[in-house]
């Protein structure tokens, strides 16, 4: 097997994601943890590019780095406890979190082992993936219902936020 550029990039982005993820949970400074999380998001976008899913890569940058990441940093900065750094690494519920993540890992590994398709890279990526994505999202036999449910959920969150901050 020859090593191509995409192998090198895959390892690079993989290291970015894994190393960043480890750093997120181990650094004592919450702000640094948030910045490492940004690196994880960026690495994920790179992996999407390697999978020839440019729309997901851009959506990853746009939503995770541009919106969720910013929100996380804001939440950290507006927390009073942030001033007493460095923070303890774990609180007393660490065993519950470990249990849940272990279960999640088990489920994911099981699912991946169930669905291994050795020749998946041999299948050609269709020409206009965005067109297919768009049609699938509004197709009643496709994902129209989950798509609509997600938008209703977002509208509910929007109204909820407005209701909470409203002056009475």
């Amino acid at each position: 097997m020859t090593i191509t550029l995409s192998h090198v990039l895959f390892v690079l982005f993989g290291l970015m994601v894994l190393g960043g993820a480890i750093a997120v949970v181990t650094v004592r400074n919450l702000f640094h943890a948030a910045l490492w999380l940004m690196l994880v998001f960026f690495g994920m976008a790179g992996l999407y590019v390697l999978l020839e899913a440019p729309f997901f890569a851009a959506a990853q940058l746009f939503i995770y780095m541009g919106a969720i990441g910013i929100l996380i940093i804001f939440a950290i900065m507006l927390t009073r406890a942030f001033m007493r750094q460095p923070m303890p690494r774990a609180n007393e519920q660490w065993w519950l979190a470990a249990l849940l993540t272990a279960v999640l890992l088990g489920v994911l590994v099981f699912l991946i082992l169930q669905n291994i398709r050795p020749n998946i890279m041999a299948e050609a990526v269709p020409e206009s993936t965005i067109h297919i994505l768009g049609v699938t999202l509004v197709d009643p036999t496709g994902y129209a219902l989950p798509f609509e449910v997600a938008s209703v959920l977002l509208v509910m969150a929007l109204i909820g936020a407005v209701t909470i901050v409203r002056e009475r």
Partner: protein, 416 residues
Amino acid sequence: MDWLTRLLAFLSNAIVNIGAWLQGVLTGWGLPEPTAHLIVRAVGALAVGFFPLVVVIFLIWAYRKIAARIQGRLGPNSSGTWAGPWGILQTFADAIKMIVKEDIRPQGIDPVPYNLAPVLVVFASVMLWAVIPFGPGGSLIGTDLSIGIFYIMAFASAALFVFLMAGWSSNNKYATVGAFRAVAQLVGYEIPQLLAVLTVVAVAGTMKMQGIVGAQNVIFLVAMPLTAFIFYMASLAEINARPFELLEAESELVCGYFIEYSGMKFGMFYLAEFMNSVAVAAIFTTLFLGGWRGPWVDQAPILGTIWFFIKMGLVILAWMFIQITLPRLRIDQMLNFNWKFLTPLAIVNLCVTVLVNKGITEAFPGGAPVWTRAGILLFSNVLTVLVVWGISALGRRREERRAWRVAQATELEVTA
């Protein structure tokens, strides 16, 4: 005259020919074909990356000169030390000064984010240029991604956290508050900008930059002036131009998130801001002014690049005139304008334009004539503006009447 014809033929497709020539030279040296191709592409990427830097150096000079003339000053000139005719080398002198300046580090900074922020902010600005189409075909664009314009919006949005990084790591409460202010403005104005872009994408039917240019048989500024207006206003806020210049506000809000930076680190923020202004002008040209399209482009593709730069220059000039002449808004006015006017207008505009566009497509099964589609879209735009103006006028009158009634009531109380 033979050499002239050949020179014209070479120039008319210059970039492709230079690329082919370079590849020929490299393979002539005995490099394998893929390696030579990779090197040619890397050189192209470097050229695309350095292009905004070169433009910005002259843009800063032009901006200072134009601002000076409008304000009745001379601007950079050679009256003291020689700086070239009309002070054209002044920016180089400033750049050298910034680079050799002592690197001042405030106490208690968070060193890694503090030093990384200026690098990342320029990185994000350079990345925008990868998908800008400078001319027809696949050679005068970094890469014609299928997500084109969405890539630009994604990178601009992903770079926002850098401001928080710079503001927080500076160990200065004014910098932190400035970063909050910057993110509040930029996140807010992203919404109308994105909705305007979405309107363009829906009418063009593609997110590819070359596809959007190709869809403009009638330029979108004529077909959808309201969308262009929304995009332009939101872009002014995104690039921190004068009516929305609250990120910096050096006279009363102490510069915001980059107050603790000096020397070339400050220079990087300054550079990124100018690069973003040029990038926004290029994007506006591509989305609304038909990009490289113009007369005689079919005969000589390089002419498209010239058209592109002429249009981009006009957009930059418009930005400069607004930037130089307008005063700054207060922060509440700035946020109100976005959330209570621009965003609702963008949503209404998106719904109307998409419905009308779909209606035209349904009404003309064989494809609508270009000017018919543009005319109907323009008409729907004018109608939207009239309705919005009417509603806001009604609201204002109701407000005035309520204020009058309150005044009457207080007057009665006072007399009683």
